[in-house]
Symmetry: C2
Subunit: 272 residues, 2 copies
């Protein structure tokens, strides 16, 4: 999952709607849209929950924050619910979006159908490379970074997507914020610092893989019949073991069994 519930005092629950619920509304909306296309008139919380991959009690509680939109003994009216959730999420209006950084990922995002289909309109593609300027990507001509401020103010854009290399992300972010952007979706592997009032959500592909690797390793370790207790300072992975740990500070060394010191590099961990 894209992590990104940062900065924003735990009391974030906007308008009494818990953050966790907001994050699930798009899920419900998608399931409801699918039902709507099949002309299904009503759904029970059980059916809809199953389609959205959540618990039915959770779903009912989520909807209770929006209001009483169901009918006991029957369920929820699909069309009506689609509208209510869309309205709550702000999808009944058009959101112009700019994408900055038209590399492989930026181009893929520009072509991604899921944006346009949910009320998001790609207003502009921006890149720092002059040779890209004017070239159409997904039918939209790429514009140079110099135009950034003008594009944003002219189009009244409030949502920006950053798909630049990590090194350029903070700088781009600063310019976006200065130009009036108040919501940022960041694909660059960096922590962005933004002023109060600006929302940042982060999608990091490699982080997701690393989390999977953790669980994968654990599964493999359990298969080997290792004891449940963790063994700090001792490798859990069966084979493919790499260089021993670098030398910890003196005090820590004395605490641990003296492993063969070898300040080698760590092949698996390279610069981003």
């Amino acid at each position: 999952m894209a992590t990104g519930r940062n900065h924003r005092p735990a009391t974030s629950r906007s308008r009494g709607i818990p953050e966790a619920t907001v994050a699930r509304l798009p899920l419900y909306l998608r399931a409801l849209t699918a039902l709507s296309e099949r002309s299904v008139p009503t759904v029970s919380s059980e059916e809809l929950a199953s389609a959205a991959g959540v618990n039915s009690a959770k779903l009912r509680k989520d909807f209770s924050y929006l209001g009483s939109y169901g009918t006991r003994g029957v369920g929820y009216d699909v069309e009506y619910l689609v509208y209510q959730i869309s309205r709550e999420l702000g999808l009944t209006q058009d959101w112009p979006v700019v994408i900055v950084g038209i590399g492989n990922l930026g181009a893929a995002l520009a072509n991604y159908g899921g944006f346009a289909s949910r009320g998001f309109r790609v207003a502009a593609l921006i890149d720092a490379d002059p040779s890209l300027a004017g070239k159409p990507v997904a039918g939209i001509p790429v514009q140079h970074t110099d135009e950034l401020e003008k594009i944003i103010s002219d189009n009244g854009v409030s949502i920006g997507v950053i798909a630049t290399p990590a090194g350029a992300a903070q700088q781009v972010c600063d310019r976006l914020v200065a130009a009036g952007i108040t919501s940022i979706l960041n694909f660059a592997p960096t922590v962005l610092s933004v002023p109060e009032g600006v929302d940042v959500r982060k999608v990091d592909l490699s982080i997701e893989l690393q989390i999977l690797a953790f669980h994968e390793q654990r599964k493999a370790g359990e298969d080997l019949g290792g004891p449940p207790g963790r063994r700090p300072g001792e490798g859990v992975h069966p084979e493919t073991d790499t260089a021993p740990p670098a030398a910890p500070p003196a005090a820590a060394v004395t605490k641990r069994p003296p492993e063969p010191g070898n300040d080698g590099d760590l092949p698996a961990v390279m610069p981003a």
Copy 2:
């Protein structure tokens, strides 16, 4: 953030390490790697927390689950911590990964440097389109879906990335699982159902934007000086208002002020 902490009894905390902590370890690792490149020998929890964008108390508690790797009065040894976290995440070994669905997004993923740099090796690219077969993407020839099972078993792949259209995702998922994949990173906008023991993490670009839109709308609404209380059944968005809500079930209608019924479509919400 990519949501994806599904299915897995709340007692998921693998080996005593809380899920929330695991999700932050890659963040710490990235910050530490950057410090390592600058040859910084030690960091305090305060400095590292700031670099990773988290609270220092949280960071210390996170590290406490791994063991006592710090030195009081000094801080943490950068190199040592890099190794310990890498080992905990399972990054000291090589993880072959297959990417299924080589469209715009799949190609972008194949080119993404963040994978290879963290111990993940793209073992194969797979697509159902025969005309793609053999064509190199990011230096790797695309193979046809028919080879899927063979590729996975031959390479001992346990992590799969799904970047296909939504319609094909579940089918691909089933084949991956049957072939031995136990961890899946899903970019398709669908809920995947998998057997027990298979981990799925989901990255949904449009969901992230929808969550941003929610907060953006709320900001705009507050600017208009509206009262803090929510007004169910009344549009909050200033202009750009679309069709009125579809007719709710009879009972619900009586509860609400009779809005002008108009079973129109909802322009902002279209099929995925």
